[in-house]
């Protein structure tokens, strides 16, 4: 709104000096640039500059490039990197399988209530909010929580299981958050699949497995790959879930970074760890965009 009004004096001023200026259907470059300026400045200051500063600080402050040596030679950080990558890979697999299963159900079902249920399942994590989701899992997985009491009553276990503060808890909580993103990435390609092709494959004698593997999977491959990349890149930066459900026992890179800043006041090492995290995420995304194109990746975001 703001820059709409700033345009008026500019054009009025021009009108008085050159009255015979030909009418043009495109916006003048100057006005356009003025209107983009606030967004441009915001991006420069708070998207690009933080990345540059992070990298610059990581190689100039503290031990200089030695920050990376310090980060990578610390057993705790190496273990955190391992945990983060492994758990994120598991989350990626679970979220993409689940997201695809739900997207495929939505594509093939004719029942209205099933469609509504699938949409509810996919949207609930957004409605619950970041912290509440993890709180729900903390309650479900607690020692006296419903999962343990159910297993005890059925007689599958004699002692309550320690489910909280484990990698399982973190993976479950993160999958809950990431499954909707996988669904959104896969759904555009799933909804393009022509169901007649399935009948054709079945009619020619293909088994269910063969139909899905030979017809459906190749068609939805770009969506699957985009989903994997989006889930993995976002998962490795997770902070809330590892802290609440993993605790001190299963630190993620994010946990170690925040400890470095707020507990050990070792900002340079935190910057080095952050750069490592960013490089992994951006490499994943760059490779994926190269493989399936920007459209497939962007399609999964909105």
């Amino acid at each position: 709104m703001l820059s709409l009004t700033t345009e008026r004096p500019a054009s009025a001023g021009r009108g008085t000096t050159t009255k015979t200026k030909p009418w043009s259907s495109t916006l003048s470059l100057r006005t356009a640039l003025l209107m983009v300026a606030p967004l441009g400045v915001a991006i420069a200051l708070f998207v690009i500059y933080p990345l540059i500063k992070l990298f610059w600080d990581s190689v100039t402050l503290g031990a200089g490039p030695g920050n990376y040596v310090a980060a990578l030679s610390s057993g705790a950080i190496r273990r955190a990197i391992g945990t983060t990558l492994l758990d994120s890979a598991v989350v990626m697999a679970l979220a993409v399988v689940g997201g695809t299963a739900l997207a495929w159900t939505l594509r093939t079902t004719r029942q209205g209530w099933v469609k509504a249920l699938v949409w509810a399942a996919v949207l609930l994590p957004f409605w619950m909010g970041v912290v509440v989701k993890n709180y729900a899992f903390a309650l479900l997985l607690a020692r006296e929580g419903p999962i343990n009491s159910l297993l005890l009553q059925v007689g599958l276990i004699q002692e309550p299981l320690e489910l909280m503060y484990t990698q399982t808890a973190v993976v479950l909580g993160m999958t809950y958050t990431m499954l909707p993103y996988a669904f959104l990435a896969v759904f555009p390609s799933v909804s393009m699949v022509n169901l007649e092709l399935l009948n054709a494959a079945r009619g020619m004698g293909a088994s269910e497995l063969r139909t899905f593997g030979g017809v459906v999977l190749p068609l939805i491959r770009p969506g699957l790959i985009a989903g994997c990349a989006i889930v993995f890149a976002m998962s490795i930066g997770f902070y809330v879930t590892p802290v609440l459900l993993g605790g001190a026992q299963t630190p993620f890179i994010a946990t170690v970074i925040s400890d470095d800043i707020f507990r050990f006041f070792d900002y340079p090492r935190a910057a080095a760890s952050s750069v490592i995290l960013l490089v992994i995420a951006l490499t994943t995304l760059a490779v994926t965009i190269k493989a399936v194109g920007l459209r497939a990746v962007r399609g999964g975001l909105g």
Binding site: S11, L34, P38, P50, L54, V130
Partner: protein, 269 residues
């Protein structure tokens, strides 16, 4: 021959059964935690018990009456409202210029605006922490609004960009050939057609900010405690059962807002 078709039929049935089980398992996995929180919120037990021993609305009464919850909720509402306004003020003019002008590097601006969505949040928060320390924004209201705006910009760009692609510039041109100024053509035609999408974008920006928990932890300092930060802290240091009531209220309100935004977004198509 009959043996193989029999076996393959059995295999088909098995594949279908496994597929169905996977779908049901994932549906349950996604739906049950929300139901569980909702059920627990209507219990009057002094601490969380499952199954609940008593029923009632004590937890809701506590949330509404005790001041401990009101303060973080108020701060969150203020930050979210400011974020929605600032985000629109920054993105809407830029989208008009990018879509209607010939700005060099349009794709680059859009991509750079969307990029933060894909940054690992913890690493990005450290970068923001360094920049905020330099600019003196740590622990300030303005700083949090800036951080949340950057957090909301990607989705708002995506929403408005797709919405604007559906509005034909010929409509504006027609108005301008008939003597309307560009400003009038925009305000009278494009903004009016875009209004549902703009409202939807405002709602999404509001919800994203209201729900944000990582930037506030890194950048908010001890003084600024929004609702997600408050819940985050109380879950870490012992569990207040009233959280179940807050969580249920949040779920219902957010669901309503987001469904409303989705309907609005659909209307602008």
């Amino acid at each position: 021959m009959t043996a193989t078709t029999g076996a393959s039929k059995l295999l088909d049935a098995l594949a279908r059964l496994v597929g169905r089980t996977v779908v049901v398992a994932f549906l349950g996995f996604m739906v049950l935690p929300a139901v569980f929180i909702g059920v627990l919120s209507f219990s009057n037990d002094p601490y969380i018990m499952f199954p609940p021993q008593s029923w009632g609305t004590d937890r809701y009464v506590e949330v509404v009456t005790s001041s401990t919850w009101i303060r973080p909720i108020t701060l969150s509402l203020e930050v979210a409202a400011a974020t929605a306004v600032v985000t629109l003020a920054v993105v809407v003019p830029a989208m008009f210029a990018l879509k209607r002008g010939r700005v060099p590097g349009t794709m680059a601006v859009e991509s750079a605006g969307i990029a933060p969505m894909l940054f690992p949040v913890a690493a990005y928060a450290v970068g923001m922490y360094a920049v905020f320390a330099e600019f003196g924004l740590l622990g300030t209201f303005a700083g949090i609004v800036v951080a949340h705006t950057v957090h909301a910009v990607p989705l708002v760009i995506i929403l408005l960009s797709t919405a604007m692609d559906q509005i034909r510039p010929e409509l504006e041109l027609a108005a301008m050939t008939m003597g309307a100024s560009r400003l009038r053509a925009w305000a009278g035609i494009t903004v009016r057609l875009l209004l549902p999408a703009i409202l939807a974008a405002a709602i999404f920006a509001f919800v994203l900010s209201f729900d944000e928990a990582v930037f506030i932890t890194f950048l908010g300092g001890p003084g600024l405690v929004t609702l997600p930060k408050y819940i985050f802290d109380s879950v870490q240091f012992g569990v207040d059962p009233a959280i179940t009531a807050v969580a249920t209220l949040l779920m219902v309100v957010t669901a309503g807002l987001m469904l409303g935004a989705t309907v609005l977004r659909g209307r602008s198509r």
